[in-house]
């Protein structure tokens, strides 16, 4: 639309200039023509009058000359007969030419501004100048005619301009504006992600070439997106297959561990139950066997529950979670165990750190780590402390695939540290250094799984005076997940 207007104006401007120049030139020519015509007529009249007066000078003399002028209109018609030079000529050049018998014509600006032409001719009788005839014409009619011409020219120019402008606007809108708007709309839709958009233009002009180029671009974009979608789909499938394979391996390892964990108590249960069933034990002894069977059953139940928790580790349900609140909950829940161990639990974090994470799973991580820590601090040594702390760390990373901001949850104990030979195995399922019945070897494996589900990682520093486990959770990934959710909704 704006472009069409600009084009119209650009076309119109030279037209108007040409029309105006042409008008001006014609006006000047006409003015000169009119002036020349007037002057020639005036000269003929003056000469005729001067000849008439000269011919009748013998009989009529100056009286005839004055009467003739009066009869023809006198001063009102611009006719004057003068017997001396000063009345008709204002400058010396004219005077001398008149004295020599020449006719003199001059153009004057008149009293009221209208141009005036004046012709003076001497009346010569027998070689003697007897007087002068002067005719003065005010060119007001000619002036009016010329003014009319100017007005007509201007009006014509304006009318032409308006017509040309509207025509070119209409044409511009039709030929430029509409196809351009269509192109712009299509480009907007394309930019908005609709890669199926195509421009239809049946003409053969440059805009049609643009449309063809646009369609080609859209097609290539669509193809590129389809390719990339196929690629990522393939990647996801490969990843899933790998995960499945990994899961199968894990299942294998788990079954071995499970068999070991359950086989032993089952042996006790079956053996003692046989004793009771066979009537080999009676009374108090039978009751004691029953008590042990129940105990072993509960032990197996615990193992199975933890195993299920590990196997069916549900997907994290991220929501805004305050780490400080999680720490306080854990502190409360662990107070009895800590008391039993003669230890205290301190929360060093004194402000809120909010991140998008599954609060229940954060709690589970912290509690598992804290229980390990408390168990690592040998019972009997009182005054030991378990410290829960958290901060935010920015990690410089070349790879954009990894978030650069992490929330770090730290659980520090004052235990005797992790021996070097077991450090590489502590995250394996069913690996434990604890006495039978105290741990199943799933705690750290569960935490490891949970941390990975949160796209984080877990590290530890250990020395003979204590161990710190650090759970690093991406702060940004959580926010991204939130964004994705908002986009989806």
């Amino acid at each position: 639309m704006k472009l069409a207007l600009k084009l119209c104006l650009a076309m119109l401007l030279p037209i108007v200039v040409v029309v105006l120049i042409n008008g001006g030139l014609r006006l000047g020519r006409e003015a000169r023509l009119i002036e020349g015509e007037g002057a020639r007529a005036q000269a003929r009249l003056v000469r005729a009058l001067a000849t008439a007066i000269g011919d009748n000078w013998e009989t009529g003399g100056i009286g005839f000359a004055r009467r003739l002028m009066n009869d023809l209109g006198g001063d009102g018609a611009g006719l004057l007969f003068a017997d001396h030079l000063d009345a008709v000529a204002s400058d010396n050049g004219q005077r001398s030419r008149l004295l020599f018998g020449e006719t003199v014509m001059s153009t004057l600006p008149g009293e009221s501004g209208q141009p005036t032409i004046k012709t003076v001719s001497p009346v010569v009788v027998d070689g003697i100048v007897r007087g002068y005839v002067a005719v003065t014409d005010v060119l007001d009619e000619e002036e009016a005619y010329l003014a009319g011409t100017v007005i007509r020219s201007i009006a014509l120019t304006v009318i032409l301009s308006v017509i040309a402008l509207s025509m070119s606007l209409l044409a511009g809108m039709h030929l430029l504006g509409r196809p351009l708007k269509h192109l712009v709309d299509s480009a907007d839709r394309l930019g908005g992600g609709d890669l199926t958009v195509r421009v239809t233009d049946r003409s053969t002009d440059e805009l049609a070439s643009l449309a063809v180029a646009f369609n080609r671009m859209a097609m290539q974009l669509q193809k590129a997106r389809d390719d990339s979608e196929r690629d990522s789909q393939a990647r996801v499938e490969t990843l899933n297959q790998l995960r499945h394979a990994e899961r199968l391996t894990t299942v294998g390892r788990l079954s071995a561990g499970l068999a070991h964990e359950l086989g032993t108590p089952l042996n006790v249960v079956i053996g003692r139950a046989e004793l009771v069933a066979d009537g080999e034990v009676l009374g108090d002894e039978a009751r004691e066997n029953g008590r042990i069977i129940v105990e072993q059953g509960q032990r197996m139940n615990t193992i199975i529950r933890q195993l299920l928790e590990f196997a069916r580790a549900r997907r994290p349900r991220p929501r805004r979670t305050d780490v400080a609140a999680v720490f306080r909950t854990c502190q409360e829940m662990l107070r009895p165990l800590a008391k039993e161990r003669g230890a205290t639990i301190e929360v060093a974090l004194n402000h809120s750190i909010v991140l998008e994470a599954d609060g229940d799973q954060l709690e589970q991580m912290v509690i598992n780590l804290a229980v390990n820590g408390l168990q690592a601090m040998t019972a009997g040594i009182t005054g030991t402390r378990l410290v829960l702390d958290a901060d935010i760390a920015s990690v410089a990373s070349d790879s954009s695939a990894f978030p650069v901001s992490f929330v770090r949850l730290k659980v520090s104990d004052e235990g005797s540290g992790i021996p070097a030979d077991v450090q590489s195995r502590i995250f394996d399922p069913f690996f434990t250094t604890k006495d039978v019945g105290e741990g199943t070897g799933l705690g750290l494996a569960v935490i490891h799984g949970l941390v990975e589900e949160h796209r984080g990682y877990i590290t530890f520093q250990t020395s003979p005076t204590g161990t710190t486990f650090t759970v690093n959770l991406p702060a940004q990934a959580a926010i991204q997940a939130d964004d994705a959710k908002q986009e989806a909704s």
């Binding site: 079954s255 071995a256 068999a259 070991h260 964990e261 359950l262 086989g263 032993t264 108590p265 089952l266 042996n267 006790v268 249960v269 079956i270 053996g271 003692r272 046989e274 004793l275 042990i292 105990e295 072993q296 032990r299 250094t433 039978v436 019945g437």
Partner: protein
């Protein structure tokens, strides 16, 4: 001082009854108590090792002793510090051919073959019945029957 009593002193183990002597190595207290109790009731002298470390020490002590005071070793496979297989290999390397029975909750054919090749006399998959164990142990009164 006979070998078993020296051993008891060193490791603080209590024998359970008299008769044929069996070293029971099992880290699970409940199973150890059950098996130990049943074996003692059947007339065995039972020594208990709480983990692989104690088993290894005891086995080495026995293998180097002039008097073969041990009749059988019943050991768990997976234990802290050392496994039943470690003890088995150590014994056989020292030329000791005492009867060794390995118990494990996770025994596949590969592992069973490996253990038998390493010199195990029998493998028991947990859970097993006490009768099964009895059937592969020497009778309880083999040596000490009739003696005070």
């Amino acid at each position: 001082m006979d070998a078993p009593s020296r051993y008891f002193q060193t490791f603080g183990f209590e024998p359970r009854g008299g008769g044929t002597t069996v070293l029971l190595a099992e880290d699970d207290g409940a199973l150890r108590a059950f098996l130990g109790g049943r074996l003692a009731k059947q007339g065995y002298r039972v020594l208990e090792a709480h983990h692989g470390g104690e088993l290894l020490a005891c086995a080495a002590d026995f293998a180097l002793a002039a008097d073969p005071w041990l009749d059988a070793i019943v050991t768990d496979l997976r234990m802290p510090h050392a496994s039943g297989a470690d003890a088995l290999r150590a014994l056989r390397r020292l030329g000791c051919n005492v009867r060794v029975i390995v118990m494990s909750a996770f025994l596949d054919e590969t592992m069973r073959t490996e253990l038998l090749a390493a010199g195990a006399d029998a493998c028991l998959a947990k859970p097993f019945s006490f009768q099964e164990l009895m059937s592969i142990l020497p009778p309880p009164d083999k040596r000490h029957s009739g003696s005070p």
